[in-house]
């Protein structure tokens, strides 16, 4: 396990999960691995945050779950973005870009 670990910013987990699922359906562990990969190892999502987040998104209708056989011949619960989830991803991306822009301006101001 990596020692260096950055705590996730509040509110970025949903965006990362939605983004991770935007290519294909993944199970919980797969989403965690994908996030680590996407952030070049900077973020490791704890399952204690990931699973509650996934269940909340499922209740909001952003993702759909389905039991499937994994590549290792195991039953696993796969999550897939719904159309509502896709539009939510757009919203979250836009909000994030806005935050980045504002924060950068704030940090660079003298």
């Amino acid at each position: 396990m990596r020692e260096k670990r950055t705590d996730l910013l509040r509110g970025t987990l949903d965006l990362l999960v939605l983004k991770a699922l935007s290519l294909e359906a993944l199970h919980g562990v797969g989403i965690s691995r994908r996030i680590t990969q996407m952030t070049m190892g900077a973020f490791q999502v704890s399952f204690g945050s990931l699973f509650p987040s996934l269940h909340r998104m499922e209740e909001r209708g952003w993702v759909e779950a389905e039991w499937r056989i994994s590549e290792n011949n195991r039953r696993a619960k796969y999550y897939r973005l719904t159309s509502l989830g896709r539009s939510q991803l757009k919203v979250e991306e836009r909000d994030w870009n806005h935050v980045v822009k504002v924060m950068r301006a704030a940090v660079q101001s003298t």
């Binding site: 204690g48 499922e58 290792n72 039953r75 619960k77």
Partner: protein, 266 residues
């Protein structure tokens, strides 16, 4: 949000299925993690332990998921309610004290509210409440001593600002008999024009006539009429024994009239 409502019903009604699915999901995650670590060359037992560590405790994760579910509030609330009842049932003396305290508190508040409602929220049962004034004499800036009759007569005859002036002695101890046991009541003595000035409505009969000053005639209030005389519609003109402290001896009085309003006039 129909999706959330569906989730709510699923969470509340099919709790077992939901829990089972959660259990399956976490178990499969542990398996996937274990296999991943075994591929890295760990033995199965070490891999399983590391997988459990990485997951951060299956029960903790479950608890976190339960907490965010729709309806978790309702579930917790019913659980708290059951706990409260169990705790109270275990300590009946404490429960009795709590219930008694609440009952007394509610009763006291209800009583006070009934009084406030009657005196502050409802208008007085007189003809035109804003124009009805009380006139007091003052003595060394102290309010509310009694008017003497001559002073009242002067005010009545000479005051130009009022359409009428009546006088009322507020608390007159009296007892009323006739039917059944004599009963202690509080009455008021008024001038004959009292009912005309206050414009009090009558259920039955009339107020005093101007020639009835000092006559043995009473007007009974609605409460007395109802409870003492069973709302007898033929009460007008009947006689009852009434003794007042002022007269100190029993006199036969004639009930001439019966008035209706919320003022208790004995």
């Amino acid at each position: 949000m129909p999706g959330r409502i569906v989730s709510l019903f699923r969470n509340l009604l099919r709790k077992h299925t939901v829990e089972q699915a959660l259990d399956d999901e976490l178990r499969s995650s542990v398996e996937i993690l274990t296999e991943e670590k075994m591929k890295g060359g760990l033995s199965r037992s070490v891999a399983l332990r590391q997988a459990l560590i990485e997951l951060g405790g299956v029960e903790q994760v479950k608890e976190e998921i339960r907490a965010i579910r729709v309806g978790s509030f309702l579930e917790n609330f019913t659980r708290d309610l059951r706990l409260a009842f169990r705790t109270l049932a275990k300590a009946p003396a404490f429960a009795a004290v709590v219930i008694l305290t609440l009952a007394l508190g509610i009763a006291a508040n209800a009583t006070i509210f009934a009084m406030v409602s009657r005196f502050a929220l409802h208008t007085a049962p007189v003809g035109d409440p804003p124009t009805l004034l009380t006139v007091h004499t003052t003595d060394h800036n102290e309010c509310c001593n009694t008017f003497s009759w001559p002073l009242f007569a002067d005010v009545r005859d000479n005051a130009k600002s009022f359409s009428g002036v009546a006088v009322c002695y507020e608390l007159l101890p009296a007892s009323i008999s006739g039917r059944g046991d004599p009963q202690r009541l509080w009455g008021q003595a008024t001038s004959t024009n009292f009912f005309d000035v206050a414009q009090l409505g009558m259920t039955l009969g009339r107020g005093f006539r101007s020639d009835e000053q000092n006559s043995p005639v009473i007007v009974v209030g609605h409460g007395v009429w109802k409870f003492r005389f069973n709302s007898d519609p033929n009460i007008l003109g009947k006689s009852t024994a009434q003794a007042t402290k002022a007269s100190a001896r029993n006199r036969k009085l004639v009930i001439q009239l019966s008035m209706s309003n919320k003022m208790e006039t004995g």
